[in-house]
């Protein structure tokens, strides 16, 4: 990654601390928010449950009061006189009850009212005649079919229904309407309307708060504030009508101050339902919860800060150890292994780091060894280039030849020596054309031929096709020198012979230096073993090992020098790749 794109920021430890704290605070905040919400929500639920239970208590009281009026209504249905009169009215189009019949009906209806809870009972025949428990028919009940609730109830075909409150002589009454049928054939004879004092209901809930008795559609049938009777409870309080669908429920009330709620409970009996308004003030609870949540959050933050500092320090410590080790490595100290204390990811990282460090150290030692070998080889090559003994001997030879008056040989040797050094010191290039390497060898051989006149003969057999190929320089001369010195002269061979060949074969250039020096096969094996022992520091065969090392270091692959016995000849065999340019990739 380029330096310019690296973001500078907090240290890893600080980042870990901040993240640990952030992660720790999330549940604290969530729990705090949830606690606030749940306190408010469940507080309201508890209040609703309490108020609903209170409403159920009122319903039980209400049902007791209403049972009387219902029983009165049912009994009216079975009064024999009522059945007879209504049957006559149904079947006789011209029937009109006389005063006596009305009086008897009044007496029967009054007898039904044993308690002072029912204001009056009215019975309506199918032809519109009205019979009542009262001395006269009160205003508003002469024609009850004028009321919408009555017409709707009759149209529903139900056996009974509760009507809406009616004001009779400044008194609110709640009408309970029942069908009157012939018990034998169940033919409809008329309707009874039993009027319950609304104040009777009020007494059953007056001590239970702001309670309302409601019809199925929410009309207020009874309330402490009589002016509210007849209004629709849900519309008056801005409550959705959906509340009517369930048996119980609660809702927020609009327009009556904040935190005002209504609980609603449908009467499981065949009686009107109930609703109750109440105020749920939870501000003190919320304030307490806020303080509690704040204190808890602050405590958690402190604890989290300590914990995150401790944990991040504990987490970063081994990483710091690794960084310090890397710094020491950067300064060259590779043998400082880390000691993992755990087998977790950090421990495994340390183990891997130790392994990598060991391998790096081995690689560096190998590179150092190779560099050393290269340095020694280069030194030897330079040494070969300017061998002082060779120069001294050659110059002595030239002096000797001059003294002997052999000017031609002086010229020949001087010319060869000049060419030899020109090629050797060729601006430091490692690669030379094979033609130059052969020329260098030829000069060397010419000089030695004069110097050791008559001791050996040599032949150069080089394929002209390879002369323009390239080779690393001065790889033939040391081997020829070995052949002359250790093969022919050390063994005092009278007719020394050296043959140097060069040709290309299968993408390789093959040089061979053959001599007839008397070297046994066992010695050949020792020489090959010495060539393969790269790390040996022995002085044995320095020249040939130097040549072999240079070839192997320069060329990749199975190139190099080897010795073999071929009949009476000792053969130095060199293989290098064919190089058509003065570079090797």
């Amino acid at each position: 990654m380029p330096n310019g794109s690296i973001k500078r920021g907090y240290s890893l430890r600080r980042q870990l601390m901040l993240r640990f704290m952030a992660i720790s605070l999330i549940p604290v905040v969530v729990v705090g928010v949830f606690s606030l919400w749940s306190t408010s929500y469940f507080g309201l639920q508890e209040k609703v449950a309490t108020e609903t239970a209170d409403v159920h208590t009122v319903i039980a009281l209400l049902n007791t009061e209403l049972m009387y009026v219902r029983e009165a209504g049912i009994k009216t249905q079975y009064i024999e006189l009522v059945q007879q009169v209504l049957e006559r009215e149904r079947t006789d189009a011209g029937f009109q009850p006389d005063e006596n019949e009305r009086h008897r009906m009044r007496a029967e209806l009054m007898a039904t009212l044993s308690e002072n809870k029912v204001h009056s009972i009215y019975v309506y025949g199918m032809r519109g005649n009205v019979y009542t428990s009262q001395p006269t028919v009160l205003l508003g009940y002469e024609k009850i079919s004028a009321y919408d609730w009555y017409r709707e109830g009759v149209a529903s075909g139900r056996n009974y229904f509760w009507g809406e409150p009616v004001r009779l002589n400044s008194v609110w009454v709640l009408p309970y309407v029942r069908r009157i049928t012939d018990p034998t054939n169940r033919i409809l004879l008329g309707y009874s309307v039993t009027n319950l004092y609304e104040s009777i209901l009020t007494s059953s809930y007056i001590s239970h708060g702001d309670v309302y008795v409601l019809s199925d559609d929410g009309t207020i049938l009874s309330a402490s504030d009589k002016s509210e009777i007849g209004q629709n409870f849900y519309e008056a309080n801005g409550i959705s009508g959906a509340l009517l669908d369930g048996r119980t429920g609660y809702a927020n009330v609009r327009g009556k101050g904040p935190r005002t709620y209504a609980v609603f409970s449908r009467n499981t009996f065949a009686n009107p339902s109930l609703a109750k308004l109440f105020v749920y003030n939870n501000s003190q609870i919320i304030d307490n919860m806020l303080i509690m949540t704040g204190v808890t959050s602050a405590s958690c933050i402190v604890v989290c800060a300590f914990l995150s500092a401790y944990l991040s320090k504990r987490f970063v410590r081994p990483l710091r150890k690794i960084r310090e080790t890397v710094d020491r490595m950067r300064l060259g100290e590779l043998s400082a292994p880390m000691h993992p204390r755990t087998d977790d990811e950090i421990g495994m990282l340390m183990d891997s780091f130790n392994n990598m460090s060991a391998r790096l150290q081995a690689s560096l030692e190998e590179i150092q060894r190779i560099n050393e070998m290269r340095r020694r080889a280069e030194y030897r090559a330079i040494e070969l280039q300017i061998n002082p003994h060779f120069l001294y001997n050659t110059l002595s030879l030239i002096i000797y030849l001059a003294d002997a008056g052999e000017a031609d040989k002086v010229k020949q040797v001087s010319s060869a020596l000049s060419t030899l050094f020109r090629i050797s010191v060729n601006r430091g290039r490692e690669l030379v054309r094979i033609a130059e390497e052969i020329s260098h060898l030829r000069c060397y051989m010419d000089i030695l031929s004069v110097r050791h006149q008559g001791e050996f003969k040599y032949v150069l057999d080089v394929d002209p096709a390879i002369l323009e190929y390239y080779t690393i320089k001065i790889i033939l001369q040391p081997l020829v020198e070995n052949a002359i010195q250790h093969g022919i002269r050390d063994n005092m061979i009278a007719d020394g012979f050296i043959r140097v060949t060069a040709h290309a074969e299968n993408g390789r250039v093959i040089f061979e230096i053959m001599d007839n020096g008397d070297i046994p096969a066992s010695r050949i094996e020792e020489m090959n073993a010495a060539l393969r022992d790269y790390g040996s520091a022995q002085n044995f065969g320095i020249g040939m090992r130097n040549v072999d090392s240079r070839i192997r270091m320069f060329f990749k692959g199975d190139y190099g020098l080897s010795y073999q016995k071929r009949g009476e000849f000792t053969v130095a065999h060199i293989e290098i790749p064919v190089l058509e340019e003065d570079r090797y990739v």
Partner: protein, 319 residues
């Protein structure tokens, strides 16, 4: 780790769901019982058996004691209809027809017990056949007279209960029909005992005043004939036997077990049988099975010779 968390999440969701399912599986529904009253052993045993039978069937039973009040019973049926119970069990009366038909129209099956309700919409009428009842006890009296008083004029007195137009009137009429076939027997008196011991005692005293030679006293239930027996005791009259229809109770059974010299025979209606049949009819109707409309049960006649065949001890002990 993810799998474990997923598993825990699933378990945490399933456990409450399973608990809710288990809780909701506790009851299949609710049945409303319109009880006649709780003032005699028959109805007390009937109510307790209704409760246990409904519980065994998996239903909650709501009970309203109406004290045999028509208006209160009609109101109870209407309340159960308003509540939306799964079925209603009610004592039967012709005056319940409108309320019962409204319940059935609301999809609630209604089973009437201990008296029928004349409506095709009633799911089932589970009753002890009053005709069979009166007939059986009449035949027992006939056999007794033929065996013990073959050559004597036997006066028979009856305490009936006309208010119970179907059951008690039926029993009485059937009993009278058998007695009238006995050549040497004669019904000398028939009065309303109001199905109560006190009223029956008063009525019996009136009868005995006019007919001191009564040899057979019949009551439409045990309380009625017990009132008659009290009047007999008061007069020190021991040559009169007492029989009754529609009896049930520890007292009546013990008289037979002890082979009482005057309490001779009763038809015993087993309330458990009636309760079991009624609840079964209601449950079958809820489950959409076909239910027999008229289920007339037989009240067997017991006397000292066969009372041991009745497993009454289990019922008494379960109170």
């Amino acid at each position: 780790m993810k799998k474990i968390l997923t598993l825990l999440l699933i378990v945490s969701l399933l456990v409450p769901a399973a608990l809710i399912a288990t809780a909701s599986a506790e009851t299949k529904g609710t049945i409303g019982l319109v009880l006649g009253y709780r003032r005699d052993e028959f109805y007390m045993d009937l109510e307790s058996r209704f409760l246990s039978a409904a519980q065994e069937a998996g239903y909650e039973l709501l009970v309203t004691d109406t004290d045999f009040d028509i208006a209160r019973s009609v109101a109870a049926i209407e309340d159960y209809t308003s509540m939306g119970v799964d079925a209603i069990l009610s004592w039967g009366s012709a005056q319940f027809v409108s309320a019962i038909e409204a319940a059935v129209a609301a999809g609630i099956p209604v089973v009437c017990y201990d008296g029928s309700t004349p409506s095709e919409l009633v799911t089932a009428n589970v009753t002890y056949d009053p005709i069979d009842d009166g007939n059986a006890i009449g035949l027992w009296v006939k056999a007794y007279i033929e065996k013990n008083w073959p050559d004597e004029e036997v006066e028979v007195a009856i305490l009936d209960f006309p208010a119970s137009s179907e059951i008690c009137v039926g029993r009485t009429n059937a009993f009278k029909a058998v007695i009238e076939t006995i050549p040497n027997a004669k019904i000398v008196a028939q009065m309303d005992g109001k199905a109560s011991r006190a009223d029956s005692m008063a009525a019996a005293e009136t009868i005995l005043e006019a007919h001191p030679n009564v040899r057979v006293a019949y009551g439409i239930n045990f309380d009625t004939v017990a009132g008659f027996y009290a009047a007999l005791e008061g007069r020190g009259k021991t040559d009169c036997i007492c029989v009754s229809s529609g009896s049930w109770g520890e007292e009546a059974i013990n008289f037979l077990v002890e082979d009482h010299p005057q309490y001779k025979a009763f038809t015993l209606m087993n309330p458990w049988d009636m309760a079991d049949a009624s609840v079964q009819a209601a449950v079958d109707a809820i489950e959409g099975k076909e239910v027999v409309y008229n289920q007339a049960m037989i009240a067997k006649t017991y006397d000292a010779s066969n009372i041991s065949e009745l497993d009454y001890k289990l019922i008494i002990e379960s109170r």
